[in-house]
Amino acid sequence: MIDVISPAFYFLIASVIVAFLPHGVLRSALLLGTPIVAGLQILELPTGVGGAIELAGLTLETVRVDKLSIIFGLIFCFAAFIGNLYAIHVKDRIQQVAALAYAGSAVGAVFAGDLVTLFLFWEGTALTSVFLIWARQTEGAYHTGMRYLIIQIASGVILLGGVVMIYRETGSLAFEAMTLGSLATWFIFIAFGIKCAFPLLHNWVQDAYPASTITGMVILSSFTTKLAVYALARGFPGTELLIYIGAVMAVFPNFYAVIENDLRRVLAYSLNIQLGFMVVGIGVGTELALNGVAAHAVVHILYKALLLMAIGAVMFRTGKSKATELGGIGKSMPMTMMLCIIGAMAASAFPLFSGYASKSLITSGTSQAGHAGVWLALLFASAAALYHTGIKVPYAAFFAKDSGMRPREAPTHMLLAMSMTAFLCIAIGIYPDPLYALLPNAVDYTPYTMTHVIKQLQLLMFSALVFVVLMRIGLYPSEIKSVNLDTDVVYRRLLPRMITRLRNVISSLFMFGTWFAKGKAKKLVRALHNSHGPEGRMARVWPNGAMVMWIAIILTATLLVNFVR
């Protein structure tokens, strides 16, 4: 037993104070200071279990400290700091309170020692984060937020169901590694899967994140899904099913990402792909792979935040985020462009950038464990990631066809937040040892060997070549289609069509599912309204005679039950 309190409470207390502080230096200081204080406290935490709270006869262990929780706790604190710094110009109190409470819930969940605490903070992340979507204050954002909330709450409810069943089966609430088998573990697995955006459960990511505010998406992208990755790494390491789920996650959103026009949505798809990498790592479950998961979670939070901040800054200045509406902005936003490119390089896993130091842990772990097919899928996903995240995002925003816009450079605090993140993206890439030292297992891996570097460069160069070729012949799918038909019409049309067709088939399958459920639900609600609504049979003001009839019926029934054996 260690005598500590969960770092989550720093955030939660701070969020309450922020709710009452007037806008000003004090509030900003609290927004920035809380993650730092919490982060420093995490570094001080002794290993062990503690922070016990009594609730309804159960002992909740709110703090469980080991290397896995520390690394996630630290990166969450850093992400909260960066997110708040980036959003320091925002005066909306609700967003600030929500951001702090959201980060706090995520940190609390990471340190949760038992399933009930996990559930409480799990729901906490859902309830707080939705305000970052609603903060946009449009009708669409409201509906999107509702959809998001329903899915997130559903995840929590399923988790609770699983927890209760586990408690019944084992009498213990400890949150330890589980094996899939009983109904209870499946419930928990699905609950984690929803938040982790498993295939078919993933739609909320692309639906909700781009609908949130500019600053909101930076914060949203860091916590919920990575919390799910943590929960899976803690609860289901080495579950083989995860390897295949992860592989699908890593491969198939690529098609969407390539043809997507809205750059923030591209990044949302790319987020999904990187989650796939982590899920594969958890499924492989070897020490090396799990190290890769933790490392990639850290690295991915950093570079995804950097990319989102850069695109966010562009959107902040121009109000646009679509590839076709942007272009040529690099001339007037050179700093943002530089930082975005650093993020893109990290995302594409260029040697000397952070993505290289983490992704290779997972891919090596996968190939060492003998999953050749999955390894190939991951390679394909890496190549494709370069294609849409590494090249398309910065290219469409800062180069491409000049849109004529000449926005001012991003505000200083945004640049500061981006620079700090970019610094880490490079620092980890050049000197990954401090990161490796934080990983859950001892690291015996050298990223910079000749074979590793060459293999990676080959992969990257070839992808880049494909991109350049496609650009040259004007085949890149998101570009405006030209009118001159020529011999290349086969290629020009075929590839985009195939991709579109494939997407249509898959998405219409999903759509059918949701449509079917929605239609049924609508019918059900209508029927219920007819029977239970104010004018319905059930809710009408009944005459007294009816009530007396009920009395007679119940009395007769009771007498019958009593007399007849």
Binding site: P534, A546, W550, R565
Partner: protein, 506 residues
């Protein structure tokens, strides 16, 4: 340990079981005699405070499983009337007098707004009589005395509900309906008691249970059971005997609704538990059958049907009334399972739901005062105009849903645990789903309060006075406090359940 006392008891402490009930009973006629509405309120409040202090003192005495037995007029039971206080009814006395003490300060302004001044003295007189009746029903250990007090509380309740006619004439028909149905219920109950008397020759509850112990096959006893269940079930608004409740709660003055919702049905449920588990032996086969085939299915039906109806309601009071019917379903479910843990879940829920519903109805009363009605259409955007009141509604709503950290969570958690103990996992899942229905109707209201644009008329509305806000917030904080600190309520409920199953400390 059994403590016996009568009128000859030496100290005032010995007289507490009697004083708790007699003080408000004597205060009631005084209200009318003085004829001044301010003095009437003061008398009601003081009587309520005294009852509350007495009840608290008795609760502390019986917390460890002791039993107080008070002999009315010095006549020995079973011939004389006995007041028998164990943990279960001390807890109920505490709840009823506590709610009354908190509601009365709130009542001053709310009643002034909803009822014309001439009737105020009568109102407080009837209120005190109703209060007396409920306390008496709970405190007494004599079956016929239960009926007498039940009638005292019922008759005054009819008057109280009818006083809502000032605001809406439909209060009159609602009161009339309740009068008819309530009388039928009371009649059934007294028929049941008559059967019991016929079969055993006694009316004292403890004595009844001793004499009935080996009379399981007796048809008269069995018929009595059915009559008592139906009679008291009507007062407790067991689905589908709830039809009087929505009208009565909707059109009664807000204070009355608050007080009744938090206490009246609870007292009836207490009597049901007392008869089912103390008077009748819970292992009687016919009783087990009734619990399994009548009480349980009706409870589950109540939880779903009433919640669904609540979802579609447009009048906030009616919505909460149907939600009460659903919550009574949860309590009956605990009774139906008939285990010690499920009984203590029911008792905890009696208490937690009592304070939760009181908060919600008081808030609605505040809305009625400001917006003139409790129709959702008139409440658009009120969250911004009445921020403190509306925040309390959200807290009460969360507790009603059973969100962790609120009192409502504790009782649902206990109930689900006892359901799982009985290996009914499908039922546990249904309970979780039913909570989602509560999410819908509470969210619907929150949406009206916070997300709808306020109307022009709404913009001028101000926060309600402190004398109303304070009681609301005391209970709202209680909702959270009892959700975090469960030691007291849970241990209390455990002792009470134990006492009930042991026949009141025979």
């Amino acid at each position: 340990m059994l403590h016996v006392a009568g009128v000859s008891g030496l100290t005032i402490i010995d007289q507490l079981p009697m004083l708790t009930i007699v003080v408000p009973m004597l205060a009631a006629p005084l209200c009318v005699l003085f004829g001044n509405r301010h003095i009437a309120w003061l008398l009601a409040f003081l009587a309520s405070v005294f009852s509350f202090l007495f009840a608290t003192h008795m609760l502390l005495q019986v917390m460890d499983g002791d039993v107080l037995s008070y002999h009315m007029g010095g006549w020995e039971p079973p011939l004389g009337i006995e007041y028998r206080i164990d943990a279960a009814n001390a807890f109920m006395l505490f709840l009823i007098s506590g709610i009354s003490t908190i509601v009365l300060p709130y009542a001053r302004r709310s009643v002034a707004h909803e009822i014309k001044k001439v009737s105020h003295t009568l109102f407080y007189c009837c209120y005190l009589l109703c209060f007396t009746g409920l306390l008496g029903v709970v405190a007494t250990g004599d079956a016929f005395n239960i009926f007498v007090f039940l009638e005292i509380s019922s008759l005054s309740t009819y008057v109280l509900i009818a006083m809502g006619a000032e605001r809406d004439r439909r209060a009159l028909t609602s009161a009339y309906d309740y009068l008819i149905l309530g009388t039928i219920g009371a009649t059934f109950f007294v028929i049941g008691i008559g059967f019991l008397y016929m079969a055993t020759g006694t009316l004292n509850l403890a004595d009844l249970s001793v004499r009935m112990a080996n009379m399981e096959g007796n048809r008269t006893i069995q018929a009595a059971f059915a009559f008592i269940i139906v009679g008291m079930g009507l007062k407790a608004a067991i689905y589908p005997l709830h039809l009087w409740l929505p009208g009565a709660y909707t059109y009664a003055p807000s204070v009355v609704t608050t007080f009744l919702a938090a206490t009246a049905t609870k007292a009836a449920i207490y009597v049901l538990m007392r008869f089912m588990f103390s008077v009748y032996q819970p292992d009687f086969v016919f009783e087990l059958h009734t619990l399994t085939w009548i009480i349980m299915p009706l409870a589950i039906l109540a939880i779903f049907a009433a919640s669904l109806i609540a979802i579609f309601q447009t009048d906030l009071k009616r919505l909460l009334a149907y939600s009460s019917v659903a919550q009574i379903g949860y309590m009956m479910l605990g009774i139906g399972l008939a285990s010690k843990s499920s009984l203590s879940a029911t008792i905890v829920h009696l208490f937690n739901h009592g304070i939760t519903k009181a908060v919600l109805f008081m808030v609605v009363g505040a809305y009625v005062m400001r917006a003139g009605s409790s129709f959702a259409n008139n409440l658009n955007g009120l969250g911004k105009q009445l921020p403190w009141t509306s925040a309390a509604f959200v807290i009460g709503g969360l507790s009603l849903i059973g969100v962790p950290g609120t009192a409502g969570f504790i009782s649902k958690w206990m109930l689900i645990q006892s359901v799982l103990e009985a290996d009914l996992w499908w039922l546990a899942i249904m309970l979780v789903i039913s909570s989602l229905l509560a999410v819908i109707y509470i969210w619907k209201t929150v949406e009206v309060l916070y997300l709808k644009e306020p109307d022009v008329s709404t913009l001028a509305m101000k926060e309600v006075p402190l004398s109303m806000l304070l009681p609301i917030w005391i209970l709202a904080i209680a909702c959270i406090y009892f959700g975090l600190n469960t030691e007291w309520t849970l241990s209390m409920a455990d002792v009470a359940a134990e006492g009930l199953l042991n026949g009141g400390g025979k």
